[in-house]
Amino acid sequence: MTRIDDTFARLRASGKKAFVSYIMAGDPDVPRALSVMKGLPGAGVDIIELGLPFTDPMADGPTIQAAGQRALEGGMTVDQTLQMVRDFRAGDAVTPIVLMGYYNPIYSRGVDRFIADALAAGIDGLIVVDLPPEEDAELCIPAQKAGLNFIRLATPTTDAKRLPKVLQNTSGFVYYVSVTGITGAAAAQADEVGPEVARIKRSTDLPVIVGFGINTPEAAETIAGVADGCVVGSAIVKEIATGKPVEEVLAFVATLAAGAHRA
C-alpha cells in the first residue's frame, strides 16, 4: 500500500472524488513553488502532481512549457526537485506526491539512482509521458519493484485491443487523458469522457482520474462526476504565472477542489 492507495481507500470510504492538482517544481522559483505546494492539501488537494522541468515537453501546451522554462531559467535541477519534496514531506507525511515529467532527466541520472532518490525523498508515484508500455523495462518495472506506483496515461486513441497492455503494469490510478492533444488546450467533454471512463473501469479495479482540459470548478465537478476524480494543471500554473500572492493561488485551487468534491 502506498500513500496513493491509502488516499483512494479513504476517499472511497467517505464517498468522495479525488482532486489532483499539478504544479511545476521550481516555478517561478523554489521558495514560491514550495509555499504553494505546502498550501495545496489545506486547499483541498488530495494528490499532488509535481512537474519535473524538461527543456522539450512534447505533450504540454504553452502554459506548462512556459512554467518549465521559467523553472529551468531559475536554475531548477532534479536535485532541487527532490529537495522540494523532502522539504514538503517534513511537514506532511500523508499527501501523495506523483512526479510527472519526461524520461531523459531520469535516464540521465541513472534509473536505479533516481528510483532510490525518489523513494528516499518521499515520492509515491511516477508519470513519465514518453514511456509507453512498449518501454516498460526501462523504468516502469524497476520502479514498481522498488515500491513506487507507475501511473499510466490512457487516451482516446487507446482502443479496446490496446487497453489491456496499457493497464498491465499500471498501479496507483489510471490517468485518462480527456482529449487527443496537449495540456491546457481543448475543453474536456463529460458526455465523451464518461463512456470512456466506464470502458476503462470495466477492465480494471484501479481508480480512473481524468485530466487535460479542465479549468473551472464547474468542469472539475462535471468531469469528476463521471470518474473517480480529476486533475487540474494548466489553470493553476496560469495563476502562478500571473505573479499573484500564494494565498490567492491557493484560494483558486480551493474553488477547484470544492468543485471536484461536490461531485
Binding site: 527543456t55 522539450d56 512534447m58 524520461y103 531523459n104 532527466p105 540521465s108 486513441t157 487507446t158
Partner: protein
C-alpha cells in the same frame, strides 16, 4: 560478411525498433497506436511491388533519379591523392536528397487515407520537399519551422508558401529545429485522425529511422552500380563520406555498404566553432552522450541534468542536438567512424568546390567535402572516395556572403 559475431549489419532494427540500445518508441500513449499502425502499413508496403513501382516511376520522372556519380578530376588533382567521386543528389528536384524520403512517406500516407501532412524543417529543404510532393498530390501541408530559422531562411519560406503550404513559425523553447519537431509532435497528438507526420531524417520513434533509411538507401544502391560501371565490375568505394545532422543522407549512402568490410565509412558532424565544452557545435556523437528525445534513444547534446542543449552550426540543416539512432549504434560498435568539421573548414571547402568543379555545394555537404580534403592527399591514387553531395548551395549564398564580409543587395 560482417565481423563481431553478427551475420550482418543490415538486419536492424529489432522488433522493438532498437539498434543495440538505441532507437525505440519513446512517445506518449496518444501516439503509440499511430506509430504501431504506421509500422504495420510500412512493413506491408515494403514488400509490395506496386509500392516500389510507384516510387521508381516518380524517382525517375519527377525527381530525376538516378542522380549522377561524378568523378571530380580537378579536385582530385588539387588534393593529389585519392580519386574523389561526388554523388550528385543536389541535382534532384528541389535541390537535395530530402525528396527521396518525402516521396516514400507521402505515397504511404495516401495509401493510409491521410489527407493532412505535417513536417518539421530546419534549413527548409525538408519543408520544401514536403510542400512540393503535397502540392503534386493535392494534400494539405503544414510545416513547422523555428522562428529563428524562418528569419534566416526567408527564400525557402517563400518557396513553401508558393507551393501552397502553411508555414508555422515556432516560438516555443528557443525557436529552432528541435522546437519545430516538438510542435509538430504536438500537432500530431492533437490531429491524430487525419494527419500524417512526415519526419525529415532518420530519427524519431520506430519505424521512422528504419523507414527513412530505406527510402534514402537509393543513394548508396545507385553508387554501387554506378561505380562498377565507371571503375569496373565489382569495384567498391574504399571510403564513403557524408555530412550528418540527423543523418538521413549519410544513412542512405552508408547502408548498402555496411556489410562490405573493405568500405571505410565516415560520418561528418558539424563542429561549429570547435568541439569543446562551450557547446558551440552540433557534434552529438563526438560531444554528446546517450539520452532520450523525440521518440528515440540516441546520442544527444545535453547538460549533466539531462536537459537538452542547443546546437550551433553555420549550416541550419545540421543544427540539431541529436542524431539518428542507427548512427549511434554504428558509432558504438565501430562499423562507422565519426568526425567533426568546423564552420571555417566547411566554408573553405564550399569555395574550393565552386572554383575547381563548377559546383556550389550546400553548407551541409561542404562539411563532408572538407573532410575529404583532409584525408584525400595522404591516400594512394587508386583509393576511391565517394562523398555525398546531398544538396546545392543556392540557399546558402547569403549566409556565406555574410561570413565572407560581402554585402549583397536583397
Amino acid at each position: 560478411m560482417a565481423e563481431d559475431g553478427l551475420n550482418s549489419f543490415m538486419t536492424g532494427p529489432d522488433e522493438a525498433g532498437r539498434f543495440g540500445i538505441f532507437g525505440g518508441r519513446f512517445v506518449s500513449e496518444t501516439l503509440m497506436p499511430l506509430i504501431l499502425d504506421l509500422e504495420e502499413r510500412y512493413e506491408y508496403a515494403k514488400t509490395d511491388p506496386s509500392f516500389w513501382a510507384e516510387m521508381d516511376d516518380l524517382w525517375k520522372h519527377y525527381v530525376g533519379r538516378p542522380s549522377p556519380l561524378y568523378f571530380a578530376p580537378r579536385l582530385t588533382a588539387h588534393l593529389g591523392g585519392a580519386k574523389v567521386y561526388m554523388k550528385r543528389d543536389e541535382l534532384n528536384h528541389t535541390g537535395a536528397h530530402k525528396i527521396n524520403n518525402v516521396l516514400g512517406q507521402i505515397i504511404l500516407a495516401r495509401r493510409m487515407g491521410k489527407t493532412r501532412i505535417i513536417a518539421e524543417t530546419g534549413a527548409g529543404q525538408h519543408g520544401v520537399a514536403t510542400a512540393t510532393v503535397c502540392a503534386k498530390f493535392g494534400l494539405k501541408c503544414v510545416v513547422y519551422m523555428g522562428a529563428h530559422d524562418v528569419e534566416r531562411q526567408a527564400p525557402n519560406v517563400f518557396r513553401m508558401k508558393l507551393l501552397g503550404a502553411e508555414v508555422i513559425p515556432v516560438t516555443s523553447g528557443r525557436g529552432t529545429l528541435k522546437d519545430a519537431m516538438n510542435d509538430a509532435l504536438r500537432d500530431w497528438v492533437t490531429n491524430v485522425r487525419d494527419t500524417f507526420y512526415c519526419i525529415g531524417t532518420v530519427a524519431g520513434p520506430h519505424p521512422y529511422p528504419a523507414m527513412v533509411r530505406d527510402f534514402q538507401s537509393i543513394i548508396g544502391k545507385e553508387v554501387r552500380w554506378q561505380l562498377a560501371e565507371q571503375e569496373g565490375e565489382g569495384r567498391l568505394p574504399d571510403t564513403v563520406v557524408a555530412a550528418i545532422g540527423g543523418g538521413s543522407n549519410a544513412m542512405g549512402l552508408f547502408f548498402p555498404f555496411l556489410d562490405d568490410p573493405s568500405v571505410n565509412i565516415i560520418g561528418v558532424e558539424a563542429g561549429g566553432k570547435g568541439v569543446d565544452d562551450r557547446m558551440q557545435h552540433c557534434a552529438s556523437l563526438t560531444g554528446g552522450r546517450p539520452g532520450v528525445l523525440h521518440g528515440n534513444r540516441t546520442y544527444l547534446l545535453q547538460d549533466g541534468d539531462g536537459q537538452i542543449l542547443e546546437g550551433f552550426s553555420i549550416s541550419a540543416g545540421l543544427d540539431y542536438p541529436g542524431i539518428g539512432p542507427e548512427h549511434s549504434w554504428l558509432h558504438d560498435i565501430g562499423r562507422a567512424s565519426y568526425v567533426s568539421i568546423t564552420d571555417a573548414e566547411a566554408l573553405e571547402a564550399f569555395q574550393l568546390c565552386g572554383k575547381l568543379e563548377g559546383i556550389i555545394p550546400a553548407l551541409e555537404p561542404s562539411h563532408a567535402l572538407a573532410h575529404v580534403m583532409k584525408i584525400a592527399p595522404a591516400l594512394p591514387k587508386d583509393h576511391i572516395i565517394v562523398m555525398n553531395m546531398c544538396g546545392r548551395g543556392d540557399k546558402d549564398i547569403f549566409t556565406v556572403a555574410k561570413h565572407l564580409g560581402v554585402q549583397m543587395a536583397v
